[in-house]
Symmetry: C2
Subunit: 245 residues, 2 copies
Protein backbone atom coordinates (compact mmCIF):
# COMPACT_ATOMS: atom_id res chain seq x y z
CA UNK A 1 0.00 0.00 0.00
CA UNK A 2 2.68 2.46 0.99
CA UNK A 3 5.11 3.19 -1.80
CA UNK A 4 8.61 4.26 -0.81
CA UNK A 5 11.51 4.64 -3.19
CA UNK A 6 13.76 2.87 -0.73
CA UNK A 7 14.41 -0.84 -0.38
CA UNK A 8 14.28 -0.49 3.41
CA UNK A 9 10.92 -0.14 5.16
CA UNK A 10 10.47 2.18 8.12
CA UNK A 11 8.85 0.77 11.25
CA UNK A 12 5.10 1.24 11.69
CA UNK A 13 3.86 2.64 14.96
CA UNK A 14 0.52 2.83 16.73
CA UNK A 15 -0.71 6.39 17.24
CA UNK A 16 -2.83 7.45 20.18
CA UNK A 17 -4.21 10.77 21.37
CA UNK A 18 -4.39 11.76 25.02
CA UNK A 19 -6.37 14.66 26.42
CA UNK A 20 -5.68 16.96 29.31
CA UNK A 21 -9.08 18.53 29.90
CA UNK A 22 -8.92 21.38 32.39
CA UNK A 23 -11.76 23.24 34.04
CA UNK A 24 -12.71 25.21 37.12
CA UNK A 25 -15.17 23.68 39.57
CA UNK A 26 -16.17 25.80 42.52
CA UNK A 27 -12.94 27.64 43.06
CA UNK A 28 -10.81 24.61 42.19
CA UNK A 29 -8.60 23.98 39.20
CA UNK A 30 -9.43 20.46 37.99
CA UNK A 31 -8.51 17.87 35.39
CA UNK A 32 -10.56 15.05 33.97
CA UNK A 33 -9.15 11.62 34.83
CA UNK A 34 -10.47 8.15 34.20
CA UNK A 35 -9.79 5.07 36.24
CA UNK A 36 -8.34 2.30 34.12
CA UNK A 37 -10.37 -0.90 34.18
CA UNK A 38 -7.86 -3.05 32.30
CA UNK A 39 -4.17 -3.81 32.32
CA UNK A 40 -1.68 -2.28 32.03
CA UNK A 41 -1.97 0.15 34.94
CA UNK A 42 -5.34 -1.33 35.94
CA UNK A 43 -6.75 0.74 38.80
CA UNK A 44 -4.48 3.70 38.13
CA UNK A 45 -5.81 7.04 37.04
CA UNK A 46 -5.09 8.08 33.48
CA UNK A 47 -5.78 10.82 30.99
CA UNK A 48 -8.67 10.13 28.64
CA UNK A 49 -7.52 9.08 25.20
CA UNK A 50 -7.37 6.33 22.65
CA UNK A 51 -5.99 5.11 19.38
CA UNK A 52 -6.64 6.47 15.95
CA UNK A 53 -9.79 4.89 14.59
CA UNK A 54 -8.51 4.24 11.10
CA UNK A 55 -5.79 5.53 8.85
CA UNK A 56 -7.98 8.24 7.34
CA UNK A 57 -8.66 9.91 10.68
CA UNK A 58 -6.62 13.06 11.38
CA UNK A 59 -5.01 13.39 14.78
CA UNK A 60 -6.98 16.53 15.55
CA UNK A 61 -10.17 14.75 14.56
CA UNK A 62 -9.29 11.87 16.83
CA UNK A 63 -8.83 14.31 19.69
CA UNK A 64 -12.25 15.82 19.05
CA UNK A 65 -13.79 12.35 18.89
CA UNK A 66 -12.22 11.30 22.19
CA UNK A 67 -13.36 14.56 23.75
CA UNK A 68 -16.90 13.64 22.79
CA UNK A 69 -16.69 9.95 23.69
CA UNK A 70 -14.90 10.28 26.99
CA UNK A 71 -16.07 13.62 28.33
CA UNK A 72 -19.24 14.31 26.35
CA UNK A 73 -17.83 17.67 25.34
CA UNK A 74 -18.16 19.36 21.97
CA UNK A 75 -14.74 20.42 20.75
CA UNK A 76 -16.23 22.95 18.36
CA UNK A 77 -17.30 25.11 21.28
CA UNK A 78 -14.18 24.54 23.35
CA UNK A 79 -10.61 25.65 23.34
CA UNK A 80 -8.40 22.78 22.21
CA UNK A 81 -4.78 22.87 21.15
CA UNK A 82 -2.00 20.40 20.61
CA UNK A 83 0.58 19.99 23.35
CA UNK A 84 3.06 17.78 21.53
CA UNK A 85 4.07 14.25 20.73
CA UNK A 86 5.28 11.82 23.37
CA UNK A 87 7.30 9.11 21.74
CA UNK A 88 9.50 7.31 24.24
CA UNK A 89 9.73 3.72 22.92
CA UNK A 90 9.15 2.43 26.46
CA UNK A 91 6.19 4.58 27.33
CA UNK A 92 3.65 1.79 26.78
CA UNK A 93 4.58 -1.68 28.05
CA UNK A 94 2.43 -3.28 25.36
CA UNK A 95 4.59 -2.02 22.52
CA UNK A 96 5.45 1.01 20.47
CA UNK A 97 2.79 3.69 20.86
CA UNK A 98 3.31 7.33 19.99
CA UNK A 99 0.88 9.63 21.71
CA UNK A 100 -0.11 13.09 20.57
CA UNK A 101 -1.34 15.05 23.56
CA UNK A 102 -3.96 17.79 23.49
CA UNK A 103 -4.91 20.46 25.96
CA UNK A 104 -8.61 21.27 26.21
CA UNK A 105 -10.21 23.91 28.40
CA UNK A 106 -13.85 23.61 29.39
CA UNK A 107 -16.07 26.08 31.23
CA UNK A 108 -17.12 24.99 34.71
CA UNK A 109 -20.04 22.66 34.35
CA UNK A 110 -22.39 21.60 37.13
CA UNK A 111 -22.67 17.89 36.26
CA UNK A 112 -19.76 15.54 37.07
CA UNK A 113 -19.27 13.82 33.73
CA UNK A 114 -22.42 12.68 32.04
CA UNK A 115 -22.70 10.42 29.05
CA UNK A 116 -19.21 9.00 28.97
CA UNK A 117 -18.46 5.45 28.06
CA UNK A 118 -15.37 5.42 30.27
CA UNK A 119 -15.57 3.19 33.28
CA UNK A 120 -15.06 5.87 35.84
CA UNK A 121 -14.39 9.53 35.14
CA UNK A 122 -13.85 12.26 37.67
CA UNK A 123 -12.67 15.84 37.91
CA UNK A 124 -9.57 15.56 40.07
CA UNK A 125 -8.00 18.66 41.67
CA UNK A 126 -4.93 19.63 39.69
CA UNK A 127 -3.05 20.28 42.91
CA UNK A 128 -3.45 16.68 44.06
CA UNK A 129 -1.92 15.39 40.85
CA UNK A 130 0.92 17.92 40.92
CA UNK A 131 1.73 16.93 44.48
CA UNK A 132 1.81 13.26 43.52
CA UNK A 133 -1.14 12.24 45.65
CA UNK A 134 -2.78 10.87 42.51
CA UNK A 135 -0.60 8.52 40.47
CA UNK A 136 -1.02 8.52 36.73
CA UNK A 137 -0.50 5.66 34.27
CA UNK A 138 2.09 5.57 31.47
CA UNK A 139 3.93 8.89 31.05
CA UNK A 140 0.74 10.79 31.73
CA UNK A 141 2.31 12.67 34.60
CA UNK A 142 4.80 14.17 32.18
CA UNK A 143 2.05 15.17 29.77
CA UNK A 144 -0.03 16.56 32.60
CA UNK A 145 2.82 18.70 33.93
CA UNK A 146 3.43 20.14 30.48
CA UNK A 147 -0.27 20.89 30.09
CA UNK A 148 -0.54 22.72 33.40
CA UNK A 149 2.51 24.83 32.68
CA UNK A 150 1.19 25.60 29.20
CA UNK A 151 -2.14 26.72 30.59
CA UNK A 152 -0.53 28.84 33.30
CA UNK A 153 1.77 30.52 30.81
CA UNK A 154 -0.99 31.12 28.27
CA UNK A 155 -3.12 32.95 30.81
CA UNK A 156 -0.45 35.61 30.75
CA UNK A 157 -0.18 36.26 27.05
CA UNK A 158 -3.46 35.04 25.57
CA UNK A 159 -7.17 35.29 26.36
CA UNK A 160 -7.23 31.59 27.33
CA UNK A 161 -8.88 32.40 30.66
CA UNK A 162 -12.16 33.16 28.90
CA UNK A 163 -12.27 29.51 27.78
CA UNK A 164 -12.76 28.55 31.43
CA UNK A 165 -15.82 30.82 31.62
CA UNK A 166 -19.35 30.55 30.25
CA UNK A 167 -20.34 32.56 27.18
CA UNK A 168 -20.85 35.61 29.40
CA UNK A 169 -19.08 36.24 32.66
CA UNK A 170 -18.18 38.89 35.17
CA UNK A 171 -14.73 40.24 35.80
CA UNK A 172 -14.87 38.62 39.24
CA UNK A 173 -15.43 35.22 37.66
CA UNK A 174 -12.54 35.82 35.28
CA UNK A 175 -10.33 36.76 38.20
CA UNK A 176 -11.21 33.56 40.02
CA UNK A 177 -9.98 31.63 36.97
CA UNK A 178 -6.60 33.31 37.23
CA UNK A 179 -6.47 32.74 40.96
CA UNK A 180 -7.37 29.06 40.68
CA UNK A 181 -5.00 28.27 37.81
CA UNK A 182 -2.07 30.24 39.18
CA UNK A 183 -2.80 29.45 42.80
CA UNK A 184 -2.42 33.05 43.93
CA UNK A 185 -4.55 35.92 45.21
CA UNK A 186 -4.89 38.93 42.97
CA UNK A 187 -5.91 42.44 43.86
CA UNK A 188 -9.49 42.78 42.63
CA UNK A 189 -9.20 46.46 41.82
CA UNK A 190 -6.01 46.33 39.81
CA UNK A 191 -7.18 43.19 38.01
CA UNK A 192 -10.40 44.95 37.13
CA UNK A 193 -8.65 47.67 35.18
CA UNK A 194 -5.88 45.51 33.80
CA UNK A 195 -8.21 43.15 31.91
CA UNK A 196 -10.14 46.09 30.52
CA UNK A 197 -6.98 47.81 29.33
CA UNK A 198 -5.91 44.77 27.27
CA UNK A 199 -7.49 45.62 23.91
CA UNK A 200 -9.96 43.01 22.63
CA UNK A 201 -9.70 40.73 25.65
CA UNK A 202 -13.25 41.18 26.94
CA UNK A 203 -16.12 43.24 25.59
CA UNK A 204 -19.15 44.38 27.62
CA UNK A 205 -22.37 42.69 26.59
CA UNK A 206 -25.37 44.99 26.97
CA UNK A 207 -25.61 46.52 30.40
CA UNK A 208 -26.93 43.23 31.69
CA UNK A 209 -26.20 42.31 35.26
CA UNK A 210 -26.18 39.21 37.36
CA UNK A 211 -27.06 38.94 41.03
CA UNK A 212 -24.95 37.05 43.54
CA UNK A 213 -23.96 38.21 46.94
CA UNK A 214 -22.87 41.84 46.67
CA UNK A 215 -23.31 44.52 44.06
CA UNK A 216 -24.34 43.11 40.68
CA UNK A 217 -21.57 43.08 38.12
CA UNK A 218 -21.43 43.95 34.45
CA UNK A 219 -21.38 41.06 32.03
CA UNK A 220 -18.72 40.53 29.41
CA UNK A 221 -17.95 38.08 26.65
CA UNK A 222 -14.65 37.05 25.07
CA UNK A 223 -13.28 39.62 22.65
CA UNK A 224 -11.49 39.14 19.33
CA UNK A 225 -7.93 39.38 20.66
CA UNK A 226 -5.59 36.42 20.22
CA UNK A 227 -2.91 37.86 22.46
CA UNK A 228 -2.98 40.19 25.42
CA UNK A 229 -1.31 43.55 25.19
CA UNK A 230 -0.13 44.31 27.80
CA UNK A 231 0.05 40.81 29.26
CA UNK A 232 -1.14 39.89 32.73
CA UNK A 233 1.91 38.69 34.58
CA UNK A 234 2.11 36.19 37.39
CA UNK A 235 3.16 37.71 40.73
CA UNK A 236 6.24 35.51 41.00
CA UNK A 237 7.45 34.46 37.62
CA UNK A 238 7.92 30.72 37.88
CA UNK A 239 10.17 28.88 35.48
CA UNK A 240 9.12 28.06 31.95
CA UNK A 241 10.27 24.49 31.34
CA UNK A 242 12.28 23.87 28.21
CA UNK A 243 10.02 21.17 26.90
CA UNK A 244 10.77 17.61 26.00
CA UNK A 245 12.12 15.80 22.98
Amino acid sequence: MFQLNEPWVPPAVLVAVDLVILTIRGNDFRVLLIERGIEPFKGHHALPGGFLNNDREGIGDAALRELREEANLDGRTLHIEQLGAYGDPERDPRGRVLSVAYLAVAPGLPEPVAGTDASNAEWAPVREVLEGRVQLAFDHRLIFDDAVERARAKLEYTPLATAFCAQTFTIGQLRRVYEAVWGVDLDERNFYRKVQRAAGFIVPVGSARQAGKGRPARLFRAGPATSLQPPLTRPEHSVVPGGHL
Copy 2:
Protein backbone atom coordinates in the same frame (compact mmCIF):
# COMPACT_ATOMS: atom_id res chain seq x y z
CA MET B 1 3.83 -8.66 18.64
CA PHE B 2 1.61 -5.94 20.00
CA GLN B 3 -0.85 -7.21 22.59
CA LEU B 4 -4.10 -5.25 22.94
CA ASN B 5 -7.05 -6.37 25.04
CA GLU B 6 -9.37 -5.41 22.23
CA PRO B 7 -10.50 -7.49 19.28
CA TRP B 8 -10.11 -4.48 16.99
CA VAL B 9 -6.65 -3.43 15.88
CA PRO B 10 -5.68 0.23 15.55
CA PRO B 11 -4.08 1.38 12.29
CA ALA B 12 -0.30 1.50 12.14
CA VAL B 13 1.32 4.66 10.88
CA LEU B 14 4.75 5.64 9.63
CA VAL B 15 6.50 8.19 11.83
CA ALA B 16 8.92 10.77 10.50
CA VAL B 17 10.79 13.65 12.07
CA ASP B 18 11.34 16.99 10.34
CA LEU B 19 13.79 19.65 11.41
CA VAL B 20 13.61 23.41 11.22
CA ILE B 21 17.21 24.43 11.76
CA LEU B 22 17.60 28.16 12.20
CA THR B 23 20.76 30.22 12.27
CA ILE B 24 22.16 33.67 11.58
CA ARG B 25 24.52 34.12 8.67
CA GLY B 26 25.96 37.55 8.19
CA ASN B 27 23.07 39.64 9.41
CA ASP B 28 20.49 37.29 7.89
CA PHE B 29 18.06 34.96 9.57
CA ARG B 30 18.31 31.64 7.73
CA VAL B 31 16.89 28.14 7.61
CA LEU B 32 18.45 24.93 6.35
CA LEU B 33 16.61 23.50 3.34
CA ILE B 34 17.41 20.57 1.13
CA GLU B 35 16.44 20.12 -2.47
CA ARG B 36 14.50 16.93 -3.03
CA GLY B 37 16.06 14.58 -5.52
CA ILE B 38 13.16 12.12 -5.72
CA GLU B 39 9.39 12.14 -6.03
CA PRO B 40 7.14 13.28 -4.58
CA PHE B 41 7.94 17.00 -4.76
CA LYS B 42 11.12 16.30 -6.72
CA GLY B 43 12.99 19.57 -7.21
CA HIS B 44 11.11 21.35 -4.42
CA HIS B 45 12.82 22.56 -1.31
CA ALA B 46 12.04 20.71 1.90
CA LEU B 47 12.95 20.59 5.54
CA PRO B 48 15.57 18.00 6.44
CA GLY B 49 14.08 14.91 8.04
CA GLY B 50 13.39 11.24 7.72
CA PHE B 51 11.66 8.20 9.11
CA LEU B 52 12.31 6.49 12.40
CA ASN B 53 15.12 4.00 11.96
CA ASN B 54 13.55 1.18 13.89
CA ASP B 55 10.89 0.72 16.52
CA ARG B 56 13.32 1.12 19.41
CA GLU B 57 14.44 4.59 18.35
CA GLY B 58 12.89 7.45 20.34
CA ILE B 59 11.57 10.41 18.39
CA GLY B 60 14.01 12.78 20.07
CA ASP B 61 16.85 10.43 19.22
CA ALA B 62 15.71 10.32 15.62
CA ALA B 63 15.76 14.12 15.53
CA LEU B 64 19.33 14.18 16.84
CA ARG B 65 20.36 11.55 14.30
CA GLU B 66 18.86 13.51 11.41
CA LEU B 67 20.55 16.65 12.68
CA ARG B 68 23.84 14.86 12.42
CA GLU B 69 23.16 13.10 9.11
CA GLU B 70 21.65 16.02 7.25
CA ALA B 71 23.35 19.03 8.74
CA ASN B 72 26.47 17.61 10.35
CA LEU B 73 25.48 19.27 13.63
CA ASP B 74 25.85 17.86 17.12
CA GLY B 75 22.54 18.13 18.94
CA ARG B 76 24.22 17.84 22.32
CA THR B 77 25.77 21.28 21.87
CA LEU B 78 22.72 22.85 20.25
CA HIS B 79 19.35 24.06 21.30
CA ILE B 80 16.69 21.63 20.10
CA GLU B 81 13.05 21.41 21.12
CA GLN B 82 9.94 19.75 19.84
CA LEU B 83 7.51 21.85 17.86
CA GLY B 84 4.63 19.41 17.59
CA ALA B 85 3.07 16.62 15.58
CA TYR B 86 1.71 17.14 12.09
CA GLY B 87 -0.77 14.42 11.31
CA ASP B 88 -3.04 15.36 8.44
CA PRO B 89 -3.83 12.04 6.69
CA GLU B 90 -3.24 13.72 3.32
CA ARG B 91 0.06 15.38 4.15
CA ASP B 92 2.13 12.79 2.32
CA PRO B 93 0.81 11.59 -1.05
CA ARG B 94 2.56 8.24 -0.57
CA GLY B 95 0.41 7.26 2.40
CA ARG B 96 -0.13 7.89 6.06
CA VAL B 97 2.88 9.57 7.63
CA LEU B 98 2.82 11.39 10.92
CA SER B 99 5.65 13.86 11.33
CA VAL B 100 7.04 15.15 14.58
CA ALA B 101 8.71 18.49 13.95
CA TYR B 102 11.67 19.89 15.84
CA LEU B 103 13.13 23.35 16.09
CA ALA B 104 16.91 23.56 16.29
CA VAL B 105 19.00 26.69 16.66
CA ALA B 106 22.61 26.74 15.55
CA PRO B 107 25.28 29.41 15.97
CA GLY B 108 26.36 31.14 12.78
CA LEU B 109 28.91 28.90 11.09
CA PRO B 110 31.22 29.93 8.28
CA GLU B 111 30.93 26.78 6.14
CA PRO B 112 27.80 26.22 4.04
CA VAL B 113 26.85 22.68 5.05
CA ALA B 114 29.71 20.24 5.14
CA GLY B 115 29.51 16.51 5.46
CA THR B 116 25.85 15.98 4.70
CA ASP B 117 24.52 13.08 2.74
CA ALA B 118 21.62 15.11 1.42
CA SER B 119 21.70 15.87 -2.26
CA ASN B 120 21.73 19.61 -1.94
CA ALA B 121 21.52 21.62 1.25
CA GLU B 122 21.52 25.37 1.62
CA TRP B 123 20.88 28.08 4.17
CA ALA B 124 17.88 29.91 2.72
CA PRO B 125 16.87 33.35 4.02
CA VAL B 126 13.83 32.96 6.27
CA ARG B 127 12.26 36.02 4.71
CA GLU B 128 12.23 34.43 1.26
CA VAL B 129 10.36 31.42 2.54
CA LEU B 130 7.89 33.52 4.53
CA GLU B 131 7.19 35.62 1.48
CA GLY B 132 6.55 32.49 -0.57
CA ARG B 133 9.45 33.00 -2.95
CA VAL B 134 10.67 29.54 -1.97
CA GLN B 135 8.08 26.78 -2.20
CA LEU B 136 8.26 23.95 0.29
CA ALA B 137 7.22 20.32 -0.14
CA PHE B 138 4.48 18.54 1.83
CA ASP B 139 3.10 20.67 4.70
CA HIS B 140 6.55 22.02 5.43
CA ARG B 141 5.42 25.60 4.99
CA LEU B 142 3.02 25.12 7.89
CA ILE B 143 5.75 23.62 10.07
CA PHE B 144 8.16 26.35 9.07
CA ASP B 145 5.72 29.13 9.94
CA ASP B 146 5.12 27.62 13.36
CA ALA B 147 8.85 27.33 13.94
CA VAL B 148 9.58 30.93 13.05
CA GLU B 149 6.82 32.21 15.28
CA ARG B 150 8.00 29.95 18.10
CA ALA B 151 11.55 31.26 17.79
CA ARG B 152 10.40 34.88 17.64
CA ALA B 153 8.22 34.46 20.71
CA LYS B 154 10.88 32.61 22.66
CA LEU B 155 13.39 35.38 22.17
CA GLU B 156 11.12 37.47 24.36
CA TYR B 157 10.73 35.19 27.34
CA THR B 158 13.72 32.84 27.23
CA PRO B 159 17.48 33.09 26.63
CA LEU B 160 17.07 31.37 23.23
CA ALA B 161 18.99 34.15 21.50
CA THR B 162 22.24 32.90 23.03
CA ALA B 163 21.79 29.65 21.08
CA PHE B 164 22.36 31.66 17.89
CA CYS B 165 25.70 32.88 19.25
CA ALA B 166 29.07 31.22 19.74
CA GLN B 167 30.19 30.15 23.20
CA THR B 168 31.23 33.73 23.95
CA PHE B 169 29.75 36.79 22.33
CA THR B 170 29.37 40.53 22.69
CA ILE B 171 26.16 42.35 23.47
CA GLY B 172 26.27 43.81 19.99
CA GLN B 173 26.26 40.32 18.48
CA LEU B 174 23.36 39.34 20.69
CA ARG B 175 21.46 42.41 19.59
CA ARG B 176 21.99 41.53 15.93
CA VAL B 177 20.34 38.17 16.65
CA TYR B 178 17.25 39.93 17.92
CA GLU B 179 17.26 42.33 15.01
CA ALA B 180 17.63 39.57 12.43
CA VAL B 181 15.00 37.25 13.91
CA TRP B 182 12.46 39.94 14.64
CA GLY B 183 13.29 42.00 11.58
CA VAL B 184 13.46 45.26 13.51
CA ASP B 185 16.02 47.83 14.64
CA LEU B 186 16.64 48.10 18.35
CA ASP B 187 18.18 50.94 20.29
CA GLU B 188 21.70 49.77 21.13
CA ARG B 189 21.91 51.62 24.43
CA ASN B 190 18.62 50.49 25.88
CA PHE B 191 19.23 46.94 24.68
CA TYR B 192 22.60 47.01 26.35
CA ARG B 193 21.14 47.55 29.81
CA LYS B 194 18.01 45.51 29.29
CA VAL B 195 19.88 42.26 28.66
CA GLN B 196 22.12 42.88 31.63
CA ARG B 197 19.17 43.56 33.91
CA ALA B 198 17.58 40.16 33.11
CA ALA B 199 19.08 38.03 35.88
CA GLY B 200 21.08 35.04 34.66
CA PHE B 201 20.68 35.81 30.97
CA ILE B 202 24.33 36.59 30.21
CA VAL B 203 27.39 36.57 32.43
CA PRO B 204 30.65 38.40 31.73
CA VAL B 205 33.56 36.10 30.94
CA GLY B 206 36.88 37.46 32.15
CA SER B 207 37.54 41.00 31.04
CA ALA B 208 38.41 39.65 27.61
CA ARG B 209 37.76 41.80 24.61
CA GLN B 210 37.39 41.32 20.91
CA ALA B 211 38.42 43.72 18.21
CA GLY B 212 36.27 44.62 15.23
CA LYS B 213 35.62 48.09 13.92
CA GLY B 214 35.03 50.41 16.87
CA ARG B 215 35.69 50.16 20.56
CA PRO B 216 36.36 46.58 21.70
CA ALA B 217 33.46 45.03 23.58
CA ARG B 218 33.24 42.88 26.69
CA LEU B 219 32.64 39.21 26.16
CA PHE B 220 29.79 37.25 27.70
CA ARG B 221 28.54 33.69 27.78
CA ALA B 222 25.04 32.30 28.31
CA GLY B 223 23.89 32.38 31.93
CA PRO B 224 21.87 29.84 33.89
CA ALA B 225 18.46 31.47 33.42
CA THR B 226 15.71 29.50 31.69
CA SER B 227 13.38 32.48 31.43
CA LEU B 228 13.95 36.20 31.16
CA GLN B 229 12.76 38.47 33.89
CA PRO B 230 11.83 41.05 32.79
CA PRO B 231 11.24 39.86 29.22
CA LEU B 232 12.50 41.67 26.15
CA THR B 233 9.42 42.65 24.21
CA ARG B 234 9.04 43.12 20.51
CA PRO B 235 8.40 46.73 19.48
CA GLU B 236 5.07 45.89 17.87
CA HIS B 237 3.57 42.86 19.46
CA SER B 238 2.59 40.64 16.56
CA VAL B 239 -0.02 37.97 16.97
CA VAL B 240 0.71 34.69 18.70
CA PRO B 241 -0.96 32.03 16.54
CA GLY B 242 -3.21 29.61 18.31
CA GLY B 243 -1.42 26.58 16.96
CA HIS B 244 -2.70 23.68 14.96
CA LEU B 245 -4.53 20.44 15.71
